[in-house]
């Protein structure tokens, strides 16, 4: 529907946002993509009404560009987990234990340079003091879902992924990453400059759908 409101959102939000949009009375067009790509497109004048990103730095950038109206607000949160192949059992977050579990394999994670999940992951591993030991054994992916898929298929023994993604995808959580080891994972949302009437309501509706976010693992 051409008059549908357009929401551009980080790809990792897809399961939750699809469900939330279905609870909105009017049709909503959901365009998913990488946070960086979306941010640039918004800045270039993409006809979106609401934007949701997976990283605060890109949202800050959008704000600095004057591409959004008002302040950004966080609508959801997330946590990191160490996902392992089923039956692998839990792993202790020490260099020796992780390396033992990896064997000749690698630890899959988002590329810290380009993927927010990777950035949080690097912070956490550094805080845990095992980044240096693992740095030769990393497998960096262009989005966090790919890291998950490698684990699910057994190509790598471990992956550092979002808790929301690890649910019911054929992996088991080998370790929870303590939240204090990295900056809080938040999904900032904002109204795009020039958003159409109703966009603010939609954004409010999304922000208010915490039950659905929670059901998909996006702990606020």
């Amino acid at each position: 529907a051409p008059d549908a409101l357009v929401v551009m959102a980080a790809a990792s939000l897809k399961p939750a946002l699809d469900e939330i949009a279905a609870t909105w009375p009017d049709p909503v067009a959901l365009a998913y993509g990488g946070s960086g790509a979306i941010a640039r497109q918004i800045a270039a004048g993409a006809p979106a009404d609401v934007v949701l990103l997976a990283a605060t730095d890109w949202m800050d950038w959008l704000v600095s560009q004057g591409a959004v109206e008002g302040a950004a607000r966080s609508v959801a949160g997330n946590r990191l987990v160490m996902a392992g192949t089923p039956g692998g059992g839990p792993v202790c977050l020490s260099a020796a234990a992780v390396l033992a579990r990896l064997g000749t394999g690698r630890l899959a994670m988002g590329d810290p340079m380009s993927v927010p999940a990777g950035r949080y992951g690097q912070q956490a591993l550094e805080t845990l003091g095992i980044w240096a030991a693992l740095s030769e054994h990393l497998l960096m992916t262009d989005n966090v879902r790919a890291a998950l898929a490698y684990v699910a298929r057994g190509d790598v023994p471990l992956g550092l992924v979002y808790a929301s993604d690890a649910r019911g995808t054929g992996v088991e959580v080998a370790a929870e990453i303590p939240a204090p080891t990295h900056a809080p994972i938040v999904y900032p949302a904002a109204l795009v400059r020039g958003a159409r009437p109703g966009a603010a309501d939609l954004l409010a509706h999304i922000a208010g759908s915490q039950a659905i976010f929670a059901a998909h693992g996006f702990a606020a």
């Binding site: 897809k14 399961p15 365009a31 993509g33 879902r145 995808t169």
Partner: protein, 230 residues
């Protein structure tokens, strides 16, 4: 038929529209450029040739960003087109532009090789029969190069149909407007555990690809026969 969600059919229809428009509209330009490269000598020819090949060698994302910068509200083209309501940014026409640019080097290459293979002696003969260079091109060069043109069009269409990186970077992936089949496949791939329609979408993409190539292979000998065996 395969059981597919309605967005999948929407994406297929959009992809077909985008790739057909991209191929058909860029064909005349491709013919012209291929002709220039095959038969003319001019300063900067090498650079023109290289420029045409850029979209092929650069990561599609880079091409997409370049388009985005060009057509964005503040960009040199966007600033002109936007007020006229003609901006292709975030519209299916933008997807067609991205697809055309990505397909262009393939079309030009194939057509150029075909034109180079036309014996200039026959063009000479046509000139002595009173045909101007333009009519020689139309009545001798083009018909004889037709199998190569067909190959170029197939290749271009296939590339346009499969193009993804530049498109999604330039016009994003807005359902019904710019979410092409490959973009949909990409989105479906992103669903942890795999979305239910993924298999069907990939099958459709494969079917279109195979169909285009088979059609071109079926046409090629017929065109070649019309064009005359050696």
């Amino acid at each position: 038929m395969i059981d597919l969600p309605p967005e999948a059919w929407e994406a297929l229809a959009l992809s077909l529209r985008v790739s057909v428009v991209a191929t058909v509209l860029s064909l005349p330009l491709a013919l012209w450029v291929a002709h220039l490269l095959a038969r003319r000598q001019f300063r900067g020819k090498g650079l023109v040739d290289a420029a045409i090949h850029l979209p092929l060698v650069l990561p599609p994302v880079v091409t997409g960003y370049a388009l985005l910068l060009l057509f964005s509200r503040a960009g040199p083209l966007g600033a002109v087109l936007e007020p006229l309501g003609l901006s292709p940014a975030f519209r299916w026409t933008g997807a067609a532009i991205a697809a055309a640019i990505m397909a262009f080097p393939l079309m030009v290459r194939a057509i150029r090789l075909a034109i180079e293979a036309v014996d200039p002696k026959l063009e000479e003969a046509a000139a002595t029969l009173g045909l101007s260079p333009a009519r020689v091109w139309w009545r001798v060069t083009l018909p004889m190069a037709l199998p190569g043109v067909l190959a170029g069009v197939t290749l271009g269409f296939a590339k346009a149909f499969g193009e993804f990186g530049a498109t999604i970077t330039f016009v994003a992936s807005i359902p019904g407007e710019t979410r092409t089949l490959p973009a949909a496949i990409y989105a479906f791939l992103q669903v942890p555990g795999g979305a239910p329609g993924l298999r069907g979408l990939v099958l459709i993409a494969v079917a279109v690809a195979v169909g285009a190539v088979l059609l071109s292979n079926w046409l090629a000998p017929r065109v070649a026969a019309r064009v005359g065996g050696r």
